[in-house]
C-alpha cells in the first residue's frame, strides 16, 4: 500500500514522457503486466506483489535516476507558473471572458520556456552562402543566406566545411586555453560530440541520436541540448529566420503584456510588425471602422459590441482596451448625432399625409367601409403613423371613396383645376412626375384618378409650362409678386377700358364728321342746282317749283 502511494506520487509528471516514448519502450521486468485503464492511459500491475503503478517499471536503475529531475521541472512549470498566472488573471478581471485570454497567455509562456533563439553566427569556410548558427541553448544548424533555407541536419556538401570549421575552432580553443570563460561552457560541452561528428559519417550520427531518443523520450531542454542537439530534429526543415522572429515577437509580447491588463492581440501585432502607430492614427482607424459598420449613432455601445461585426474587424484592435473604445464611441456618436441634426434641419419635413394618401390611392375601394378598411390594414405603417389622427384618416378615406364613384370626366376636370391652381414656382417645366410638390400630393383630387390616366395628363400639362423662375421665392415674395401681377392686370384692364371708350368717342366723332360732310355736300348740290340756269331759263325753275305752292307768285 505504501509503495503504491509512492508510485502514484510520481504520476503527475509521468504522462508526458510515457506518451511520447510509446514507440520503443524498454521491456518490462518479469512479473509486471501492462494494462489500459478505462480513461485511456496505461498502467502496470505486478500480480505477485499486487503493486500497480502508472510509471513504467524498468530494470536498469540509472534510467530511473535520469528521469527523476524531469518531473521536478515539469511539475514546477505546471503547478507554479501556469496555474498561479491563470488565477491571478481571472481574479483581476471581473468578467469571465478575460479568463480565457489569460489562459492562452499562460500556455504561451509555458511554451516559450524551452524555445530557443539564435545566438552566434559563423561563416563556414569555403561556403560563402552558408552560415553555421549556434542557438542560445547550444544547438546548431546551417543556414543558406542566398536561398534562405535552413537545416538542422547538415547537408552532405556543407558538412565538409562544417568539419573544417569545427577543427579550426578546436585548434583555436586549444591554443587560447582558458582565455574566454563565457564561451567555454558551451564549447566544452560540445567538445566531446565534435570528434564524433568529425570522425563518423552522418549516418552514424543519426544512429546515435535515435538511440538517445529511445532511452530518454521527450524531456526538458536543458539536458538534451548540450549533448546531441542537432541530430535530435533530423529531417525537419525550419526556416530559422522565421523562428527567430517569432521568438522575438513572443518575447516582446510577453514583456509588454505583463504590465498591461488589456488584450494581448494588439501588442503582438505591434511587436511583430514594428510599425509604430500614433494615437491619432489608431483613433482615425477606429473612426473609419465605426463609420463603415455603424449606421445608427443612437445605439448603445453594448448593442454595438453584441452585434459583433466590429469585433471581427482588425481595426477594432487599434485602440488598446474597452474603456478607450467606449470613450471614443461616445465622442464619435455625439458628433455624428449633431451632424444628423444639422442635416435634418436643412431638409424640409415630409408631410405625414403624403404616405397615407399614397396608401389610400393604392388600397382604398368603394367596396370597403372605413371600419373594415381600418381593420384590414391596421398593421400597415401608414395606418399606424401617430402623426395623423384616426379621425383625419377616416375623413379622408370617406371623401376619397366618394370621389372614386364620380364620373371620370369630372375627376379629370378637377385635376386640371388643381394643376392650374398650383403656382409656377412649385410646378413648372423642370418638375418631374416623381417630384411633384406636396401641395399636389396631399390633395384628394390628385389621387382620385388612377396613375395610368393621371400621369400622362400631368406630364402633358407640365410640358406646356414655362421654365421655373430664377430664384426660388419665399412665401412673402410670392405674395408680393401676386399682388404686383394683380395690380398690373388691373391697370391693363383699365387701360383697355379707356381705349375702348376713346375708340368709341372717336368713332362717334367720325360719324358726326361724316354726317356733317354729307349735309354740306347736299347743300352744295342744292346751291349748284340753283345756280345752274339752263336755256329753259327760269322756266325750269318754275317747273320745279310747280310742285310746291310758290309764295312769290302770290306776291307778284
Amino acid at each position: 500500500m505504501l509503495k503504491s502511494t509512492y508510485h502514484l506520487n510520481q504520476k503527475p509528471a509521468e504522462p508526458a514522457p510515457s506518451t511520447s516514448a510509446a514507440p520503443a519502450l524498454p521491456p518490462l521486468p518479469p512479473g509486471w503486466t501492462e494494462h489500459k485503464a478505462p480513461a485511456g492511459h496505461t498502467y502496470y500491475y505486478h500480480a505477485e506483489t499486487k503493486q500497480s503503478t502508472y510509471k513504467r517499471p524498468i530494470i536498469e536503475p540509472h534510467f530511473l535516476q535520469q528521469e527523476a529531475p524531469i518531473p521536478s521541472y515539469a511539475s514546477g512549470a505546471f503547478a507554479g507558473g501556469f496555474n498561479a498566472g491563470q488565477f491571478q488573471g481571472s481574479e483581476s478581471s471581473a468578467r469571465g471572458g478575460h479568463a480565457s485570454f489569460r489562459g492562452g497567455h499562460g500556455y504561451q509562456d509555458r511554451r516559450r520556456e524551452p524555445a530557443d533563439r539564435p545566438k552566434h553566427k559563423y561563416v563556414i569556410p569555403g561556403f560563402d552562402a552558408w552560415v553555421l548558427v549556434k542557438t542560445k541553448l547550444g544547438r546548431r544548424f546551417v543556414h543558406n543566406t542566398e536561398t534562405g533555407e535552413s537545416f538542422w541536419k547538415i547537408p552532405e556538401d556543407v558538412l565538409k566545411g562544417v568539419l573544417e570549421f569545427d577543427i579550426a575552432e578546436a585548434r583555436k580553443k586549444a591554443g587560447k586555453g582558458p582565455a574566454e570563460p563565457e564561451e567555454k561552457p558551451v564549447a566544452t560541452v560540445e567538445g566531446p560530440s565534435k570528434p564524433d561528428e568529425a570522425g563518423g559519417s552522418s549516418d552514424e550520427y543519426e544512429e546515435v541520436e535515435v538511440e538517445v531518443t529511445d532511452s530518454e523520450g521527450e524531456d526538458g531542454p536543458s539536458k538534451r541540448l548540450r549533448t546531441e542537439e542537432p541530430p535530435e530534429d533530423v529531417d525537419v526543415e525550419f526556416d530559422e529566420d522565421d523562428i527567430a522572429y517569432q521568438l522575438q515577437a513572443m518575447g516582446e509580447e510577453y514583456g509588454l503584456e505583463s504590465g498591461e491588463y488589456g488584450f494581448g492581440d494588439e501588442e503582438m501585432e505591434e511587436g511583430a510588425e514594428g510599425i509604430p502607430l500614433t494615437e491619432d492614427d489608431s483613433k482615425a482607424l477606429f473612426r473609419d471602422l465605426l463609420e463603415d459598420f455603424v449606421t445608427n449613432p443612437y445605439k448603445t455601445w453594448d448593442q454595438i459590441v453584441e452585434e459583433g461585426r466590429i469585433i471581427e474587424d482588425d481595426r477594432y484592435l487599434a485602440l488598446p482596451n474597452m474603456r478607450s473604445r467606449r470613450e471614443f464611441w461616445d465622442e464619435w456618436s455625439r458628433e455624428r448625432i449633431h451632424q444628423l441634426q444639422e442635416q435634418r434641419k436643412k431638409q424640409e419635413k415630409q408631410d405625414p399625409k403624403i404616405p397615407y394618401f399614397a396608401f389610400l390611392q393604392e388600397k382604398a375601394t368603394p367596396k370597403l367601409y372605413w371600419p373594415e378598411f381600418k381593420r384590414k390594414y391596421r398593421k400597415e405603417p401608414a395606418m399606424r403613423d401617430a402623426k395623423v389622427t384616426d379621425k383625419d384618416r377616416e375623413k379622408w378615406y370617406r371623401e376619397h371613396v366618394k370621389r372614386l364613384q364620380m364620373a371620370h370626366s369630372t375627376l379629370k376636370a378637377d385635376l386640371t383645376a388643381l394643376l392650374k391652381g398650383t403656382p409656377l414656382s412649385a410646378l413648372n417645366r423642370s418638375t418631374s412626375i416623381a417630384s411633384l410638390p406636396p401641395s399636389i400630393l396631399t390633395d384628394l383630387r390628385y389621387i382620385s384618378l388612377s396613375p395610368r390616366d393621371r400621369d400622362p395628363l400631368i406630364e402633358a400639362y407640365i410640358s406646356t409650362l414655362p421654365p421655373p423662375p430664377e430664384a426660388p421665392l419665399s412665401a412673402e415674395q410670392e405674395a408680393e409678386l401676386v399682388a404686383q401681377r394683380r395690380e398690373r392686370e388691373r391697370r391693363e384692364k383699365a387701360l383697355a377700358e379707356r381705349e375702348r371708350r376713346v375708340q368709341e368717342a372717336k368713332r362717334k366723332q367720325q360719324k358726326d364728321l361724316a354726317y356733317g360732310r354729307g349735309r354740306l355736300r347736299e347743300e352744295e348740290m342744292e346751291l349748284d342746282r340753283a345756280m345752274n340756269v339752263g336755256k329753259s331759263g327760269l322756266r325750269a325753275h318754275l317747273d320745279d317749283a310747280d310742285d310746291i305752292p310758290i309764295p312769290e307768285k302770290g306776291d307778284d
Binding site: E91, A94, N296, Y298, K299, D330, S333, R334, I337, A386
Partner: protein, 148 residues
C-alpha cells in the same frame, strides 16, 4: 369614465422619438424576456436582479442621450420620463456628486438595512478588505462607487 388611451388614439410622441425608438424597443424586449425568465436554480433575491439591471441601463441610455450627447430635446426627455421609459428619481441621484454611477435607489436606502448603512456595492473597491467580487443583494450590483 376616463377616455381609454391606446397606441392608436394617443398623441404622437415628440419629434426625435423615431431615432431612439429601436433601442428602446430592444430594451423593452429584454425586459419582457427577463420578466418571463425561469427562476429555476436562482436564489429568491436573484430573480429581480435582471429587472433592476435593465431599468438601470435604460435610464442610463436616456440620461446619456439627453445630458451627455444632447441628442434628444427637452420635450422628448420629459415625455420619456412621464411615460416611464426612465426612472427620474434615479437620474436625479446621478446628477449629485458621489452618486454618478449609482446602481439603484434601494442601495442608498439606509433605513432598510440592519445597521443603517448603505449597500456593500457603494463601498469603493480600494476600501474593501479583501479582493473579492461582491454582488449586492438588492440588485446584483458589483460595485458602483464613483471612484471605481
Amino acid at each position: 369614465m376616463p377616455p381609454i388611451r391606446t397606441a392608436r388614439n394617443r398623441k404622437p410622441p415628440p419629434d426625435g422619438f423615431e431615432d431612439i425608438e429601436d433601442t428602446l424597443l430592444e430594451f423593452q424586449n429584454k425586459m419582457k424576456d427577463a420578466e418571463n425568465a425561469t427562476h429555476e436554480g436562482k436564489k429568491r433575491y436573484e430573480t429581480v436582479w435582471p429587472i433592476f439591471q435593465i431599468t438601470h441601463q435604460r435610464s442610463r441610455y436616456i440620461y446619456d442621450m439627453y445630458y451627455e450627447k444632447e441628442a434628444i430635446s427637452k420635450k422628448l426627455y420629459d415625455w420619456l420620463l412621464k411615460n416611464g421609459y426612465a426612472d427620474a428619481n434615479l437620474i436625479a441621484k446621478w446628477k449629485k456628486q458621489g452618486y454618478e454611477k449609482l446602481c439603484c435607489l434601494r442601495c442608498i436606502q439606509t433605513k432598510e438595512t440592519n445597521f443603517n448603512s448603505t449597500c456593500i456595492c457603494r463601498v469603493p473597491r480600494d476600501q474593501m478588505k479583501d479582493e473579492q467580487t461582491i454582488e449586492c443583494v438588492s440588485c446584483g450590483c458589483r460595485g458602483c462607487s464613483s471612484s471605481d
